[in-house]
């Protein structure tokens, strides 16, 4: 038996372990789950180390250090030390007395996220979508396009009405909100149905692995 065959057997057994969960919780699943949690935690730890810690922190600082020692210059890469400083503050949580310092790092992160996503969402989720909705309701001679455009404008309009928080959904306003809910429901249903196909593809892939790669029952 070579490594490849052993690998397929391991993979197949673990595949069955996960599937066994569909019947009920059992030791076989618990084993697969525990192994998955451990292995994946290790996987992301290694990835974080090699792809974030090393290039973004270590490499930048060694560059600065090199400049300092060889050329006696202080270059701008030292600025990554501040990131490292916040990182160390984070680790201070392990020291109960000064653990509160980690809130500085959290404050930095939360501030960055809020600032970045403020403009990003307003632009791509807000403005772009509004612009895409501005369409003529009647296109001369083209009934299909006209009808489609009306659906888009009315649907988006009523859907947004549903999201109003400070106005009671009563009367004409309530009616529009109700129509909005219908569009949301069609959106949910359609997205659900649309996704079924790719979900089935995944299971087909696993079954093919079991029957073809492992058991070699099909070609």
């Amino acid at each position: 038996m070579n490594g490849e065959i052993i690998g397929v057997w391991i993979g197949a057994i673990l595949t069955l372990g996960i599937f066994s969960f569909l019947y009920k919780d059992n030791s076989f699943y618990k084993f697969s789950e525990a192994l998955f949690v451990g292995i994946s935690a290790g996987y992301w730890f290694v990835v974080t180390f090699w792809q974030y810690f090393i290039p973004k922190f270590w490499d930048n600082l060694s560059l600065s250090f090199h400049e300092l020692v060889v050329n006696g210059r202080i270059d701008y890469h030292w600025i990554y030390l501040i990131g490292g400083f916040f990182g160390v503050l984070m680790l201070l949580r392990l020291v109960p007395k000064i653990g509160w310092l980690s809130r500085w790092s959290l404050a930095f992160i939360v501030g960055t996220t809020a600032g970045l996503q403020f403009t990003r969402y307003l632009e791509s989720n807000g403005i772009r979508q509004v612009v895409g909705t501005i369409k003529p309701l009647v296109v001369g001679g083209n009934l299909g396009t006209s009808f489609g455009n009306i659906i888009i404008v009315v649907g988006t309009f009523c859907g947004l009405i549903y999201f109003f928080f400070s106005k009671e959904h009563k009367g004409a306003f309530g009616g529009a909100a109700r129509v909005g809910v219908w569009f949301l429901m069609i959106n949910f249903g359609a997205m659900f149905g649309y996704t079924v196909m790719s979900r089935m593809s995944l299971l087909i892939g696993r079954m093919d692995y079991l029957f073809a790669d492992w058991l070699k029952l099909i070609k």
Binding site: F86, A107, G126, A190, V196
Partner: protein, 213 residues
């Protein structure tokens, strides 16, 4: 210090990020802050990992129910980490042929792909339970899902071939128009939700996470 510094820091950083979007020279800060975020996360992962080992080690030590599975977690973590850090060629650890790649392909990938594939079953059980024509809204949900499910595979074509693949075309039409309309309303709402909560965070109105004593 404990209370003020985090509040001021959040506000300053947040406002800087917004300004950077409009003032090109500030873009450098934007990239820098994002890098710092990754550095902080790279440091912080030790907190998570130590917690994971602590929880499972405790389980083993106290011989709690299911303690052998705690052992599996720790062993799995150690094997993957040691191999990835020391025995797989440094930064090229993900290259084919490394032991890390072998574990990825034969342990990690099958587990991951199978969890993902469970969705095929759950999609079926959820649609059976949820798609009932209880009222107008539920009927809309049901019909849209049904048409899309039938229209996107050959069965739809067999059923409606004589109508010029009407089901397939209807499915495309739903995706292009009413579906898009609903989606847009949701997306625009989200944009405003993000803007508003980002402002609340920057102003320090919503500060549950940084204001403890």
């Amino acid at each position: 210090m404990r209370r003020e510094v985090p509040l001021v820091l959040t506000a300053m950083v947040g406002i800087t990020m917004i300004i950077a979007h409009f003032i090109p020279p500030f873009n450098i800060l934007k990239d820098l802050f994002e890098d710092w975020f990754f550095i902080i996360a790279a440091f912080a992962i030790y907190l998570g990992i130590s917690n994971l080992i602590l929880v499972n080690g405790d389980k083993i030590y106290k011989k709690q129910k299911g303690w052998p599975f705690g052992l599996v977690v720790i062993l799995g973590f150690l094997v993957m980490t040691v191999i990835g850090l020391f025995f797989s060629g440094g930064t090229s650890f993900q290259d084919p042929g490394t032991p890390f790649y072998y574990l990825y392909m034969n342990v990690y990938y099958p587990l991951s792909a199978t969890m993902f594939a469970l969705l095929a079953f759950f999609v079926a059980s959820a649609s059976y339970r949820a798609f009932r024509a209880r009222n107008v809204e539920a009927t809309m949900l049901l019909l849209a899902a049904f048409i899309l499910m039938v229209g996107r595979v050959p069965i739809g074509y067999w059923f409606s071939d004589w109508l010029g693949d009407a089901l397939g075309k209807l499915a495309d039409w739903i995706m292009d128009f009413p579906q898009t309309a609903g989606q847009r309303a949701i997306m625009i709402g989200i944009a405003l939700g993000v803007v508003s909560s980002a402002l609340r965070v920057i102003l320090g109105l919503e500060r549950t996470y940084t204001s403890g004593e």
